[in-house]
């Protein structure tokens, strides 16, 4: 009976707690760790669309930057792409700046990683944020749902190995 006799302010407090808890449960799993899920969809490009652009006879070719691990890059990467390194580290972020410092701000750049499932990638979001903060206006992030092996190599898309 005591439970039923609670004041309306207590009820509102409980309701608010349930709502906040629910919101946290809904959004924390995908975003707190890798943040890639918070990249706007307008910044993304799908593998099949990138392949079309790369293989097209005409049109502007993007500068492809791999912002993941070197060990993964050495096993397989998109032909012509440049290794930057994990921008989750300070050293990697500096490398990214060095790669693009001298480029015009309207340069078409595609960032990719594929180290981990999309929701856990620690690299693409910081890289995307950094390029936009530097004023680059034509940046896309390759959407790799699971990993580079499953979503690029096993799909039969072009691959290069080594340095």
């Amino acid at each position: 009976m005591t439970f039923l006799k609670m004041t309306s302010s207590k009820w509102e407090f409980i309701c608010a707690a349930v709502l906040i808890g629910g919101l946290a449960a809904a959004f924390v799993p995908g975003q707190a760790l890798g943040q890639a899920t918070s990249i706007p969809s307008s910044h993304l490009i799908n593998p099949e669309d990138l392949v079309k652009i790369v293989q097209a006879a005409k049109g502007e070719k993007p500068l492809l930057l791999q912002v993941g691990s070197y060990v993964l890059y050495a096993q397989a990467h998109i032909p012509g792409s440049e290794y930057v390194g994990s921008v989750a580290s300070e050293a990697g972020m500096q490398q990214l700046h060095r790669h693009v410092d001298s480029l015009p701000k309207n340069k078409f750049i595609v960032l990719y990683c594929g180290c981990c499932p999309w929701s856990h990638c620690p690299n693409v979001k910081p890289a995307d944020d950094a390029l936009h903060a530097m004023g680059f206006t034509h940046v896309k992030v390759l959407y790799i749902a699971n990993n580079f092996g499953a979503d690029w190599v096993e799909k039969g898309y072009p691959v290069a190995k080594g340095q």
């Binding site: 309701c15 906040i20 070197y70 096993q75 994990s86 981990c116």
Partner: protein, 176 residues
Amino acid sequence: MASRRRILIGAGLLCMAVGVYVALQSRGRMARGPAAKQHSVAPDFSLPQLNGQSLQLSAYRGQVVLLDFWATWCTPCREEIPHLVELQNKYSDQGLAIIGVSMDDSPDPVREFYQQFKMNYPVVMGNADIGERYGGVLGLPIAFVIDRDGRIYAKHIGATEASVLEQDVRAVLAPQ
């Protein structure tokens, strides 16, 4: 007032349901194994450990090996480490040997991580060659369960529930 309360509770419960669904879906996508190449002999390797000494996989013949490809910057890998430490503690007497293969670019962050997480099993520094010999390690984590004869019993790509790994380990530890 009552209807406002109902709406708030309803919204909260709905968000919780969505959260649980998202978490389960995400976990399900990541756990894909056991996969192909089961029962083939695990490629032997000799790689440097964090202390500089080399570790040879074939030296573990007769033991069950859980070979974990991981990296310090890989969030699901990091989440798995405490469970692996627990597994090592629980089953080392029965012949389990966990070996971590770090795919980090440098050993420095691995050493730091090793201390911080009180890892109780050896970690070697991986490279592209071992990645390719194990079918391409193009996403992390990837875990191989290797039986006492050195054959691959299971391969798990992506974050895997600790209970699934434990089940595999128990299955290959049993027939001694």
